[in-house]
């Protein structure tokens, strides 16, 4: 019974089921299971009817060269992600410091930079950078675009984290005669980082997902490699688009889930701390 009554946080929405309700839930469960199984069965038969499970289509993944290309693509994705993560965290810290500055011009400049890049579609930014400066080296267009966008978002996260530290903390530090730099570096930022780390890692997941935009500006990352494998008819069976999606999709999902798990772990560790705040990353 505990399985049904207190399993999820929203379980107050329904009573502990009696015998009738339990029978009804079981009926709904079976019907839903049949519907989902039917949907899956339909998808699988559709795939096999169209020959997507033919060995010929999947042959490509047995070649060492193809496997090597997928690994290279994965490494290229991780390289762009690593650089973008590093730079965006640095830029975020810089912009957040500017937004929290006591000097009005600095504050305004940083706030307008943050607001502008947050409102810009990342793709438009990356493609503009690509055509304007990096036509020969798409990786830097991707990294710079990701840095500008995610750096702005990280700046907002850090700024709201610093503002969420209870006011008494900063006031007490000032009362002890600390200067603004000392208050920030010694008192506010360490507490803010602790409460904002899950959101920051959540934004890193977004960064990782957005590296796939490199596909559009011909940066040879995972998705681009997948498209290249799929669009060359190495075998007579046709273009293995669906096999490529079924191979590459899980790689992306696994990488993102690993990062999310890290965020969860850090959040669970920090739960005992005060003023824990997280915001949804979109």
């Amino acid at each position: 019974m505990s399985l049904f009554t207190r399993a999820s946080t929203a379980s107050v929405l329904y009573d502990a089921p009696g015998p009738k309700a339990r029978a009804r839930y079981r009926l709904f469960g079976v019907l839903a299971l049949i519907a989902i199984a039917g949907l899956l069965w339909y998808a699988v038969t559709m795939l096999s009817d169209n020959g997507q499970f033919d060995a010929g289509l999947w042959d490509a993944f047995q070649y060492n060269t193809i496997q090597q290309r997928i690994v290279d693509g994965l490494l290229a994705t991780l390289e762009a992600f690593g650089l973008a993560a590093l730079f965006s965290l640095a830029l975020g810290a810089l912009l957040a410091a500017g937004q929290l500055s006591d000097h009005r011009p600095v504050r305004w400049a940083c706030t307008s930079v943050v607001q502008f890049f947050r409102a810009m579609p990342l793709l438009i930014l990356i493609v503009a950078l690509y055509y304007a400066f990096f036509a020969k080296d798409p990786m830097w267009a991707l990294v710079l675009g990701l840095t500008l966008y995610n750096g702005s978002v990280q700046a907002e996260i850090i700024r709201s984290g610093v503002n969420a530290v209870p006011r008494g903390q900063g006031e007490a530090a000032y009362a002890l005669g600390m200067r603004k730099n000392q208050v920030m570096a010694g008192i506010l930022v360490p507490q803010a980082i602790r409460s904002m780390l899950p959101s920051m890692i959540g934004q890193l997941v977004v960064t990782l997902k957005d590296t796939s935009l490199g596909f559009i500006i011909t940066y040879h990352e995972l998705l681009f490699v997948g498209k290249a494998i799929a669009s060359q008819p190495i075998n007579a069976a046709g273009f293995p688009y669906i096999p490529v999606v079924l191979v590459i999709g899980p790689i992306y999902v696994a990488m993102c889930l690993l990062l999310t798990a890290l965020a969860r772990w850090i959040e669970a560790r920090g739960r005992r701390g005060a003023n824990r705040r997280t915001s949804a990353a979109a």
Partner: protein, 216 residues
């Protein structure tokens, strides 16, 4: 800057702008309906539906949108499913955004005070009635803030559709680049268009927030 008003450039730009709005609006509608349904699944008393909702959200939130577009645009035709490019784009973008809408709504459902649902239940309301008449209306109001950032992100994400044969603002940018206009002035106009869309969505949500605000 003036290139926009030469030749037929303005018509191209306007069509792209309208197409972006159409694509965003359709995807937003799909995302809202599907997201609400998924949120209802995720809090329902039927474990199978809960598992379905969780799986959907986990899969779609952790897949890059570009890969989703790729799967829909190249995968479905291989299965002999043929829609227009716009429909494909709406499916990918709507399905992706639905997972975010679901998560936001679910966090809203958790903020509705316990007493509300308990009172509804003690009046004899069923799960469906409790959810649709009592809990969801209150949850939707409390999550307008996070919801606005989801729907401001949606038109920005819709730019990716341009790379998959939908003739919207991104493809207008591509065409202008190919015609050899200065990249900075192209970027300026496209940026303006997106800023207008973002600002409109933000203003809409601010209006909703003031209209729907309730004293708690």
């Amino acid at each position: 800057m003036g290139f926009l008003f030469e030749d037929d450039n303005f018509a191209l730009f306007r069509d792209g702008f309208l197409q972006t709005i159409e694509l965003s609006a359709l995807s937003a509608l799909l995302a809202l309906l599907l997201g609400t349904l998924l949120a209802a699944f995720r809090v329902s008393p039927v474990p199978v539906l809960r598992a379905f909702g969780t799986t959907w959200v986990t899969l779609f939130r952790n897949t890059p949108l570009t890969l989703l577009f790729f799967a829909v645009e190249f995968g479905l035709p291989a299965l002999d499913v043929h829609f227009s490019h716009l429909t494909f784009a709406v499916l990918a973008l709507g399905g992706y955004t639905a997972s975010f809408v679901c998560e936001v709504l679910r966090s809203g459902i958790n903020t509705v005070p316990l007493g509300q649902a308990e009172a509804a239940r003690s009046l004899g309301m069923t799960f469906g009635q409790t959810l649709t008449l009592v809990v969801l209306p209150q949850a939707a109001r409390t999550v307008l803030g996070p919801m606005s950032s989801v729907f401001i992100a949606l038109p920005r994400n819709s730019a990716i559709a341009g790379a998959f044969s939908v003739g919207e603002l991104y493809s207008a940018q591509q065409t202008f680049s190919e015609r050899g206009y200065s990249i900075f002035s192209i970027f300026f106009w496209v940026a303006c268009a997106y800023l207008v869309i973002s600002a409109t969505v933000a203003a809409l949500f601010r209006f909703l927030e003031t209209r729907l605000a309730v004293a708690r």
